[in-house]
C-alpha cells in the first residue's frame, strides 16, 4: 500500500455545553493512505461528522494531532486553514453544496477561481469533470434544475476540481433515493480506481457501506 496521507494521533474533541462536556471523540489513532476508499460508520452521535471536520480543518482538536502530508493542522492559523482546505481537501456535504445562482459549470469553476487558476483552464477542467460524473449535458443548468443525485455529482466534480489530496464526504447519500445513492457511489468508486483519488465518507446506509474497501467503526467517539 502507498504512503500515508493523513495521520491521526491520540485525537480527542470535547464540546462544552454549559456545565456539560460532550466527549465527541476520544483518543483516536488512525492512518489513512493514499488511494483509500474508506467509510466511517457508526450510530448517530458517534462522532462521524466531528472526525471528518477535524480531518478537513473545519474544527480544531481539544488534544492530539492531525498530520496531513507532514503538516500538523494545529500549527495553522485561521487563514492558513482556509487555504489548506482550499488546496488539500475536497468537500462533499450532505446538503447546501452548491451556490444556487451559479450553473453547474460555474459552481465547479468557482473553487479553481479561488485558487487563481486562469478561467480558460478552469473552464476546460470543469467541463471534463462534469463529463466524468455523467453530467456533460447539464453543465449550464442551475442546481434547482438538477435532481438531488445530480446535485451531489456536481458536488463531487467540484470537490475534485481543486486537485485535493483527499475527498471528505459526510453522508453524501443521506438525501438521495437508493438508486441515486448507488449511482453516486459507483461514480466515486470509479474515480478512486482510475485516478487513485482518496475518498473518506461517512454513512448510515448499509449498501453504501458495502461499497467501501475499508470501514472505520465509531461508537461513542471511539474506534471499535
Amino acid at each position: 500500500m502507498g504512503n500515508s496521507v493523513i495521520k491521526i494521533n491520540n485525537l480527542s474533541k470535547i464540546y462544552k455545553e454549559g456545565v456539560n462536556e460532550v466527549h465527541a471523540l476520544e483518543n483516536i489513532d488512525l492512518t489513512i493512505n493514499q488511494g483509500e476508499f474508506t467509510a466511517i460508520v457508526g450510530p448517530s452521535g458517534s462522532g462521524k461528522t466531528t472526525l471528518l471536520n477535524m480531518i478537513g480543518g473545519l474544527d480544531t482538536p481539544s488534544s492530539g494531532n492531525i498530520i496531513v502530508n507532514q503538516t500538523n493542522l494545529s500549527s495553522l492559523s485561521y487563514n492558513e486553514l482556509i487555504n489548506f482546505r482550499r488546496d488539500n481537501v475536497g468537500f462533499v456535504f450532505q446538503a447546501y453544496n452548491l451556490i444556487p445562482v451559479l450553473t453547474a459549470l460555474e459552481n465547479v469553476s468557482f473553487i479553481m477561481d479561488l485558487q487563481n487558476i486562469p478561467s480558460k483552464i478552469s473552464r476546460k477542467r470543469a467541463i471534463e469533470l462534469l463529463e466524468s460524473v455523467g453530467l456533460g449535458d447539464r453543465i449550464n443548468s442551475r442546481p434547482s434544475k438538477l435532481s438531488g443525485g445530480q446535485q451531489q455529482r456536481v458536488a463531487v466534480a467540484r470537490a475534485l476540481a481543486s486537485k485535493p489530496k483527499f475527498i471528505l464526504a459526510d453522508e453524501p447519500t443521506a438525501n438521495l433515493d437508493s438508486k441515486s445513492a448507488e449511482n453516486l457511489l459507483d461514480i466515486m468508486e470509479q474515480l478512486n480506481r482510475k485516478e487513485n483519488i482518496t475518498f473518506i465518507f461517512s454513512t448510515h446506509d448499509q449498501r453504501v457501506m458495502n461499497k467501501a474497501r475499508r470501514i472505520i467503526k465509531l461508537e461513542d467517539g471511539r474506534v471499535v
Partner: protein, 408 residues
Amino acid sequence: MILLLSWKNIWRNKLRSIIIITSVILGLVAGIFVVGFMNGWVKQKIDSVIEIEIPHLQINSKTFIYQNDIENNFDISILEKKILQSKRVKALSPRIIINTMISSAHKVGGVQVYGIDPVKEKMVSDIYKNITKENGNYFNDNKPYSIVIGAKLAKKYQIKLRSKIVLSMVSIDGIQVSSAFRVCGIYDIGNPPFEESRVFVRDKDLREISSLPINRVHETGIRLIDNEISTLEEAKGFIIPLLNKDNKIRTWKEVNAMMGIYSDYMNIELMVIVSIILLGLGFGIVNTVLMSVMERKSELSMLMAIGMSKKKVLQMIILESTILTSFGGFIGMLLGLIIISTLHNTGMDISKSMSSVGEFGFSTMVYPAITVIQFSFIAFMVILTGILSAIYPSKAAMSINPAEGIRQ
C-alpha cells in the same frame, strides 16, 4: 468570478434589491431637493432683501449707527463721485433719515422718514416696483410734499391714497417743526415691520423742513452690479480708503445679522439635514444587507468551508451593495438633477403650503438651485453610505462558523 457571483446574488431577491435601489434614489432625491430648495429659498430672501430693504453696502456716520439723531450726518458731495468710479458700483443713493411723529385723522405714532432723490433711490431700491396702479406711484407727479408709505402703515392709520398726513420732527436747530404731506403711493413688499416704520419723501422737501444743510446726509445706500460675495468684498475694499474716520461702511450681512447667518451657516445646516437623511438610509441598508447575509448563512458557511477567504466573502458582499448603491445613485442623481432644473425654471409657489411665510417677509416664489460642489458632495456621501453600510453585515457574515453552518 466574485463580480459575477455578486451580480447574480443581487437578482436572487429582487424585491430586496429594489428596496435598496429605491432607498438610495429617494435618499439622493430628497437630499438634492432639500438642499436645492433651501438654496433657492435663502437666495430668494437675500435677493429680495438686497433689492428692496437693505442695499449691498451702506455708509453712515459711526454715531448715527448707535443713535439715529438728525445731527449725526456727514457730507456726501465729494464721496459720491469717488464711489461711483468703482466698476463694481451700479448706483448710489444719499438718504436723509429723521425720526418723526406721523399723524393721520385716526392715529399718531413714530416712523422714520427717508428723504431721497427718487431718481437715485429707484436705482438702489426696488420699492417703487412694489406699488400697484391703484395704489399710486413713486413720486411720478411733480407735486411737492408728496409721501410714499407702506401698506401696513396705511392700514393701521387708515390712510388712503391722496390722504393728508402730518409729519412732526425736531429740526437741526432744535426747533419743533411740522408739515403736511399728501400720500402719492402705497408700497407693499410683504414685510409688515418694514412697511410700518418707513416712509419716503423727496430730499429737498425734508431738507426744507428740517433745515439740514445741502449735501449733508445720514446714510448712503450703494447697489452693486451683482449679488456675488466677491463683488461685495471688492467694492467694500475700494470704498473704505475713501471714508474719513467718522464714517463706517457696512455690508448687508453686517446690517442684518440674521441674513448674514442664513447665508454663512447655510452649508452647515444643509450638512446636518443631509446627515440625517444618510443616517436613515444607512440604517435601512445595514438591515437589508444583514437580512440577506443571514438568509445565506448555510451557503456562506459552505463557501468558507471549501476555502473562500474572509477577504473574498467581504469583497463579495460589499460588491453587492456597491453595485446596488451605484445603480440607485446614478438614477437618483439624474432624477434629482431633472427635478431641480425643472423647478429652477418654473419656480415653486410655496404660498399655499406655507401661508405664514409671506408675513415674515419671505417671498412665496422659490427657485431651487444647487451648486456642483453641493451636488457632488451629496452624491458622494450617499454612495459612500451605501458602501459603508455593507461593512457591518459582512463582518457579521465572517463571524459565521463554517463547521456549524454546514451541520444545519
